[in-house]
């Protein structure tokens, strides 16, 4: 999990914008589907990307967790490994997993 930060040059402005645009799109898709499927009383803007999905935070239960897995798999056409609750800790950890899997599928890993 640890990232060793190297003092490399900043990414090109265009690359920086692309990183944001791609992540923003995955977040938007996931939040909208999450709110719809779980009938959450929030707007997408209300859901901070680091909010805990299970336990504290949104306080979703194990049935909701199953719904989240189905939501990810149908929206992004990727699999969540059985029992891999680490992915479901927050919206951001879900989005990290989606982007990583999409990169692998696209041969960019």
């Amino acid at each position: 999990m640890q990232t060793m930060l190297k003092s490399v040059g900043a990414p090109a402005p265009e690359q920086f914008k692309q990183l944001i645009a791609r992540r923003a799109q995955v977040i938007k898709t996931f939040k909208e589907e999450l709110i719809h499927r779980l009938n959450l009383p929030y707007s997408p803007e209300d859901l901070h990307e680091d909010v805990s999905l299970l336990g504290s935070g949104l306080g979703l239960d194990s049935l909701d967790a199953l719904e989240i897995v189905l939501c990810i798999e149908s929206c992004f056409k990727i699999k969540i490994p059985d029992g891999d609750i680490a992915v479901l800790r927050s919206i951001n950890t879900v989005v990290d997993h989606v982007i990583e899997q999409q990169d692998r599928k696209g041969g960019r890993a």
Binding site: L5, F16, I20, A24, P41, H48, L58, R89, S90, T93
Partner: protein, 368 residues
């Protein structure tokens, strides 16, 4: 200044004290690294008597608390605990709160950034007949946190306590006295809050301390909890809460029932929400040796200052500095690289939180 009734015992165990918002707290006992390690790998015992604890009769407590707190108090089911907050009239944070529906009473626990007098004034304002009983002076609050905390509570209170779900309350007894027992905590490991009468506090503290020591645990101070909360991405009212105060950029919308027509600060919070979110906090990591990731430090993108650090600490699991920074929403994404302190300063990166996987999430108690 309010002090804990366990002060003599804590001092004898090597506690280093400091003042926080008019209350004396244990800053640390030893090295915060060792205390954090105890919680992640074993169990930590912390005196949480700095919180304010109230009991309200059920019939009056619902209206009183619901008129003040951002969360929906009538919806709390019997035996469950709601995590929410108390704001001032301008909609800025005053206290991080647990509200427990405990049979015929509501237990209300406040971790406040206001001195006691300020909190009392805020609670006194507004509608509803209170009948509030302040338990703070004649009770202690002990927090047991960590991977092995369930072993300790099982030994002291019996195996029934293990079935308690997260954010629940039960009543137990210790030496014939009632102990309110919450399954809670803000470290991302197993956690329990015990509210015990002062009469039995010393003996309860001694037995818990003995049990944690037998399991490689340690007494902990609030400095360790500041790091554990940051690392587990639990809201810390004493860190980012104190610096930002506005619950919306802090991402605390999940603590608010926006359908409620009134609570303390309701109108101001709803008005700011309607105006759209302008900033929000994002996790930041720096290289292990970077010592500039401190509260108030500035973050740069290209030659522009774009964010400010509002909470900082160290992850002893990852062995690197961590922080939360307040970014404009258009840059508030993880996976981006910035510079710290100046356009040519050290590289820092925005990250997804929480950055660690706590051991407790890998354990199933019913399989032990």
């Amino acid at each position: 200044m309010r002090t804990s009734s366990l002060k003599d015992r804590l001092a004898a165990a090597g506690a280093v004290f400091r003042e926080r918002h008019g209350t004396e707290v244990v800053s640390r006992f030893a090295d915060p690294r060792a205390e954090c390690g105890a919680v992640r790998d074993a169990v930590g015992l912390t005196d949480f008597s700095f919180v304010r604890v109230y009991s309200l009769p059920e019939e009056k407590g619902i209206d009183f608390l619901d008129a003040r707190l951002a969360g929906n108090v009538p919806k709390i089911r019997f035996g469950r605990v709601l995590h929410t907050f108390l704001a001032d009239r301008e909609g800025y944070l005053a206290a991080d709160c647990y509200v427990a529906n405990n049979d015929r009473e509501f237990i209300f626990i406040c971790e406040s950034i206001l001195p006691d007098g300020g909190l009392d004034a805020l609670l006194a304002a507004g509608a509803g007949e209170s009948a509030v009983e302040d338990l703070t002076a004649n009770h202690v609050v002990l927090s047991l946190d960590g991977f092995k905390s369930w072993e300790v509570v099982k030994k002291v209170f019996g195996p029934d306590v293990l079935g308690l779900p997260y954010l629940s309350i039960e009543n137990h007894t210790f030496e014939g006295e009632p102990v309110r027992f919450l399954r809670a905590g803000k470290t991302s490991e197993f956690g329990y809050l015990l509210i015990a009468p002062v009469k039995v506090a010393p003996s309860l503290f001694d037995i818990l301390n003995s049990e944690i020591q037998q399991r490689g645990g340690r007494l902990c101070g609030v400095d360790a909890h500041d790091n554990l909360r940051l690392e587990g991405r639990f809201f810390n009212i004493h860190a980012e809460g104190l610096r930002v105060r506005d619950p919306l950029p802090l991402g605390l919308q999940w603590m608010i029932d926006f359908d409620k027509e009134n609570f303390s600060g309701c109108a101001a919070i709803k008005q700011r929400r309607a105006g759209g979110l302008k900033k929000k906090i994002v996790g930041i990591e720096a290289a292990p040796g970077c010592d500039a990731l401190k509260d108030g430090a500035r973050i740069f993108h290209e030659d522009r200052e774009v964010a400010e650090i509002v909470a900082s600490g160290r992850s002893f699991v990852l062995n690197q500095p961590l922080a939360l920074a307040l970014f404009p929403v258009e840059l508030a994404y993880s996976g981006l690289q910035f510079r710290l302190g100046a356009p040519g300063g050290p590289v820092v990166k925005s990250i997804s939180m929480p950055p660690i996987m706590p051991k407790s999430l890998t354990v199933k108690l019913d399989e032990m």
